[in-house]
Symmetry: C2
Subunit: 144 residues, 2 copies
Amino acid sequence: MIAEESLIEALDRAGYRLTEPRRTVAGLVAARDAHFTAADLVADARKRHLRIGRATVFRALDVFTDLGLVERVDLPDGDHAYVGCDPVHHHHAICTRCGRSLDIEDHGLSEVLAEVGERLAFTVTSHRLELYGLCDACRAAHRT
Amino acid sequence: MIAEESLIEALDRAGYRLTEPRRTVAGLVAARDAHFTAADLVADARKRHLRIGRATVFRALDVFTDLGLVERVDLPDGDHAYVGCDPVHHHHAICTRCGRSLDIEDHGLSEVLAEVGERLAFTVTSHRLELYGLCDACRAAHRT
DNA sequence: CCAATTGTGAGACTCAGTCTCGATAAGAAG
DNA sequence: CTTCTTATCGAGACTGAGTCTCACAATTGG
């Protein structure tokens, strides 16, 4: 979940050219409210009669990923997907029913992890954390 | 890091046939002390003049994964790999230098995560956590 | 020992992602 | 507004992991 303008603005600020294809991908990403694949975006583009090359979609996603506005997540089944998000260090809580993801702040997790590392004589330099479960809406829907 | 016998024993206990190819894959996995890919095992087999089909390696890894003796991990660069490990719920601390992985017990992490979920109105059903950094040996080697 | 059933191997196939290269367009300069 | 440089694009070939199919082979319960 991220606004098209944020994406375009970030491109500009980072010195990338504001091209039509990039705006198109920004629009496609902004229109998605759950995790998606590059192929999803290509299909979306087709549906909306927007001409865009497959490679370009991948390239734009790479750029957005570098800027931290899109992240690659790993789903429980091992598949990869992308999600739009804020460009701060955080993790994702991914709803296994609707695919939407919530950003999780670090909440002292890093410290806990460094501590765990201590005990193992392991220096933690980075980590990846993903939570899977049901978001509020799906939890409610599930009960019925 | 897991013994060949553990792998074979687990197959037996779970009712899988103890076939030659599976023993071969068990041997290949046991011989690896860091993360590996299916292609690595195929190459190892070639080197050791063991005939085994590529599909069979994938199938055996799937079985071992189901039994919890092998897990798929995601590396920081987004690649997948397999690691041998004990069949209990845990996470991995992966050395980015040598690729070896240490098993991390849950140490109350699950509770912390459930709590985080509470705050987000998100019901956490499972999670994935991977730590990246330097193991003790590589930390020492790195200093010099 | 033998049949029933599970497992195997070769190779075709799929799908995500990458690469190449000639064509195109953004945007700085004038 | 026009020009020029250079980043970017698109098409399609390519790669590599993983899956699928199907005829054949091996395990094992009886």
